[in-house]
Symmetry: C5
Subunit: 354 residues, 5 copies
């Protein structure tokens, strides 16, 4: 999964605030959607050019600018100038290898999150960085590519159902964060099902392929943790509401998101424990099977090697071997061999090897 | 144990406060019991319809509403409206995959706990979410299904024994939490007995089945921890009594519950240490047995393979093999073979393999 | 060691303050000794009946009531009434499965400790719960059974040597705690000697029995830790002297006990590290031995199996086998066999297997 | 990698402030470069002698003195006298085995960092200590040897691009620290690529050489951690800006460096987890292969050893062996042998060994 | 290394302040050296009798009393009376099994440290307890035996070089502590060299003896940690300078010692990581070798056992074995055998066993 580690070194040596995109190179165009709404009105359009700043966040209601794709630094620079965003913030938006964080720039709050979706086709997690800027009456969200978990929010804004259109930009920012955190449960459920499937497999047929799957799960957990742990601090920081941009009315909602974050972390830790337990089961089952194999080998060898010696003895060509002449020599040898085999079997049974 | 992970993803994308039941689907009816009591009077009935709110918590005494089953969202919504419960609280009650927590909503305190019972029939733990609302003069408790650990409390209320009827709703809430925490000791005792049984088994007959049992115990511990650890914070938060809903007179009782919680956690950690110690014993006993098997194989092979070579030599059909003609050739070969075997045995005894 | 886990479940469902003894059932009588002393006088007697409270702690000096056995709840209840002890305290005294703790009840301080003695006869640790109540001019100590580590203190009170008789009840309480903590060093020393003995054994003769002993030591450490770790908090809490019952003059002594407690914990952790190091040595020595066994087997098999094939070839009965007719055929075969064996031995020596 | 542990013992017993170089002995000359700049002017020269102190940091603008090589204690002593540097600071600069740290000496801030570069030729990390002194209008940087990551900064000063020449000495110090931290990402990327390469290798061909590489990676991580962890505290301390030497305008930049530091630590921990996961995969693949080898051996031995006994039986030379005379004896033996082999193969297939 | 655990149990049951020596019994005499110095004068003599207290610390300058040997409790008691040392302090000095600590007794500061030296002759660490008392104008140091790391300090006092004679008793105390901490680097260097030597050995020839050495190193680390970790707190406590006995002028020096302590701890942790990495390498190399041994055995057995069966078949004595009569029977058998061996070898090569 090389995509997990991004080429950040190209930025090394650049002055702070240099806008270079860190992440997968893309050729698709950046798409900017704008929604302006208040309790009574709703408007949506696509922003084609950012040359004129005025129309950006000018309405009396709440403006949500959603940008799909951050690989065109120039567009971001223009947007940044219009909205008076600090160069370091722009740099962080472009750098898609950020750690989730919350920063307070007086004029706006800057939140970086990881949106995680499960790609059923390739059976792997997709981690995408989402940056959210919360101003007095606007929210700007930046995504790495098209496709997100915000459709229910868009629908709620359009239809005007629920509290969405009655409340301010802070509630919109909360809703976006909530949607991302809520989607973690979907991903966790898929991982949980995988774990349960593997646990059953382990008992019935522990193959080396299972080991491979366990390890790839473990790896997924490492990257999930890296995305989710810092979230606790981010949402906790929002909840403390030290910025005037966050109204008192949404405190209870932020506490709810915080609870969900804690629960995601809790489940992650539980999964980790379960996965490491599975590794233990796998290793001890391998150990057990080796033991069983060794026992079979030992039983066979211990019974037959002595008998082979006996028949070897009477295959010698010495002139004077009195036993060979005896008429009952052959049946007696058979008897001795059967006796030895019987004694061995009893010995193994008493040792609980059979 | 798939039941441990609940389908929470159906809630993803819903606006906050959406009432959807997360948990096992059930078809049984929800049952609501109401108890109104003060020092002198006591009344109990079953609430059939919540259409009229007034009779709910109207008495001068303490009202305890106990609801068995939270799978019918509509009933909960009505109840919520009557008692003016916040939608997020109702959502948490419906979502039976909550982490134990304490929330202060000014009008009421909201406590989520896990009630754990040991199902002797299926030999497994049953974890059930209990949500408790504490208001000025009422307590509402929500359980996932019928059957709980509250019978002694009901009895104490009915008979009027002890302090129960003399004290307020806060004491009732304390009593419910105390009953749940106290029952953990019963579950821990059963697990403790299992551990002791397994430890003896391990010494006498370490089979792969024991390994399976150890791992299922380990798994139980993971889920127990997940239920019990956050409790510390919950009960600790109650003890700090930052809400006016908790009177000073029950501080000493809450400290007592807090102590019990710490002790449950302590015992859990001790069990974890003991279980991981058992795994070590198991693995090293497997290793020891493998060693023993290998020794038997090696001793047998090392003694008999050289002898087989000797008898093979004198089974060759060369024309000119002077030894074969000698009259004492055969007995001499026997002598040599016995000597080799004896030397080998002495060698193994000196290596402490015998 | 089933005694380590006590039947606490019988208390589940009982109202708080219910006096039920949790611990080993006993039939012996409870024995209550009373000592009253000040700088000039000293008196000692056995309390037979608690019917009259007045004589209990009435002297101008310090009164020490020592109770051997807490299995008769009734006596405890009477004592509790006389000294106005809170029911929850009495419950804790009866419940001998407590975690060490310190509680401040304004009128008195309540300290729970674990007294650990090493039973040389059965070669096992004995953990006994000691509860200490410190009032203005009295100390009450509760033990599970007769026999303790307080004899030097009794002697010092009787003979009037040292500071004991000149100082108040707080000093007596300190002396009791100090005696218990000091005795931990005796137990640790015995465990330390066991560890050193085992370490030597491990090098000379690592048998599976040693493994058993290591694991039982490890188990002892788990229970010791459980008894000793909370002590740090207990003694630390006393040292902070937030209660007026503890005079300034004994601050320096409490700091001394605190230091000892830290040292006990330190030594425990060192032992834990040493024991887990021993487990590693054991397992790798088993692994080494297995390797050695395998080498012997492989050397024997690799040398003799090819030779056996050669002699088998010339044991075949084909009519036309020209080698068999040659007069020097037999010695040449011997030569070939010796050459093969020599090559093999050189090969093994170069591989450092010999 | 013996160079990681430096000979520090030569300093033992010396009074504090004794200037002895701890590190690799070098014979090259120390090179001191001076840059003086402000918004409009820029000057650069090489300092040959420190005999006259005045020209050192005398300009109205910012002076940056960069010293390559700290192995000549005398030069350092002179420089120290000129700039009034505390002897303990000089001692720390000479001792290249320092832990990263920040010290506030009122007149100046003293920062010790580790500059890490990846030497592609020898395929190993190079850790070099960089000490930075920040005064009111000057920065002095000390490096162990020529070659650093500061070239982009020098260029920015020369060309006057960006904010560099407009801001004070604190910004220069920040830029140096930022350059060092930024370069960590380059090193981490190289390690990350190594890890990914190894992970693929592990699946296709797990050789003992891979194990060696994993362990050397693990070792590199140990030393990286030692260099990077304390950085968090250092940069965090700068960010708190308790010294008047750090202006408010660079607070936001320091927060940015702090974020990067956290991210470096995060990535380090992720790598550690991945490396230890690789070790697990390697060990279980070795275990699996052993198991496979054992199975082959056991199958071969179990099939052929009994057959060898049978042919041995009919190779005996007894006079009276009726089977030998039978005309269909030979084919029947063949039949029996094939039957035994078939039974064995079916048995192994059912055991899933084949 | 039994000396690491000292007989402390003899003190159990004694009242606090009882002076009993805990440690190795010694018969040598205790030697007390006294140095009195100020900026201009210096005087040194040996104290023979402590009967008269006056000359002890009476000078206007600084007095350093150094006592080699603490096994004669009586001398210590007299000294304690003269200097008014608290009985608990004296007890701690006698008890050479102390944990490093700092205690503030208003009149004096009491510091316990562990002086560690490396005994090259027996190739083992020697841990010796050093107690330091710092008063207004005197320092008293107690050592377990003759021989220490203070000679450079004595020399500096005698010759009057450096700051030593200009500063007060606090500087002397600092110098003693600094000398002890500085010497840790010497010990760490020796351990570091051992580790590097072992790492090379591990790659070239991993014998069981190396395992033994690794484990003894690990043990040394356990005891080193126990001596060094608490030091952090001790030196940190001194640095906070809450006692008037420590002047402001030595704050910067104490911060330096604190840094060194942190660095010692850092290096210890690095060594621990490296040692546990070495254990992993050792165990996996044992595992690899076992695998290799098994492969050799399996290859030999798998090639030769089937061939042995074939030659056994034609060694049977059946009357009617048509193959035996055929003139080309013998060479055909040879051909078959060579073909089987070749097929096997190709099979093993494809499995990468050869």
């Amino acid at each position: 999964m090389p995509r997990m580690l991004k080429k950040r070194s190209i930025k090394s040596g650049q002055p702070p605030g240099t806008l270079i995109h860190v992440g997968e190179a893309k050729t698709t165009d950046v798409k900017i959607t704008r929604m302006i709404y208040d309790e009574t009105s709703f408007e949506q359009d696509e922003v084609k050019k950012i040359s004129t700043c005025i129309p950006l966040v000018d309405g009396p209601g709440v403006t949500w600018i959603d940008m799909d794709g951050v690989h065109q630094a120039e567009i971001l620079r223009e947007l940044g100038e219009c909205l008076r965003i600090h160069p370091l913030t722009l740099e962080d938006i472009l750098n898609t290898d950020q750690r989730p964080k919350l920063e307070d720039f007086d004029d706006y709050l800057f939140v970086v999150l990881k949106m995680i979706q499960y790609d059923d086709v390739h059976d792997e997690m997709e981690i995408e960085q989402v940056s959210i800027l919360l101003g007095v009456n606007f929210v700007v969200s930046f995504q790495e590519r098209a496709g997100d978990v915000f459709d229910p929010i868009r629908e709620r804004i359009e239809t005007g159902k629920g509290r969405m259109r009655k409340l301010g930009a802070d509630y919109l920012a909360y809703a976006l964060i909530d949607a991302i955190v809520d989607h973690y449960f979907v991903v966790l459920e898929q991982i949980g099902e995988k774990i349960e499937f593997l646990e059953e497999e382990l008992v019935t047929a522990p193959t080396p392929e299972i080991l491979q799957t366990i390890h790839s799960l473990k790896r997924d957990m490492i990257f999930l943790r890296k995305s989710v742990w810092p979230l606790r601090e981010v949402v906790g920081g929002l909840e403390r509401r030290e910025s005037p941009l966050i109204g008192e009315s949404i405190a209870v909602y932020l506490r709810d998101v915080y609870d969900h974050t804690i629960q995601v972390i809790d489940t992650l830790e539980t999964f980790r424990d379960m996965i490491s337990g599975m590794l233990d089961i796998y290793l001890s089952s391998v150990s057990n099977r080796m033991n069983e194999v060794m026992k079979v080998l030992t039983i066979i060898a211990t019974i037959f090697i002595p008998l082979t010696l006996i028949v070897g003895i009477y295959g010698m060509n010495f002139k004077y071997m009195p036993e060979l002449e005896l008429p009952w020599g052959y049946p007696v040898v058979w008897g001795i061999m059967l006796a030895i085999a019987a004694v061995m079997l009893i010995y193994f049974r008493r040792k609980k090897w059979l």
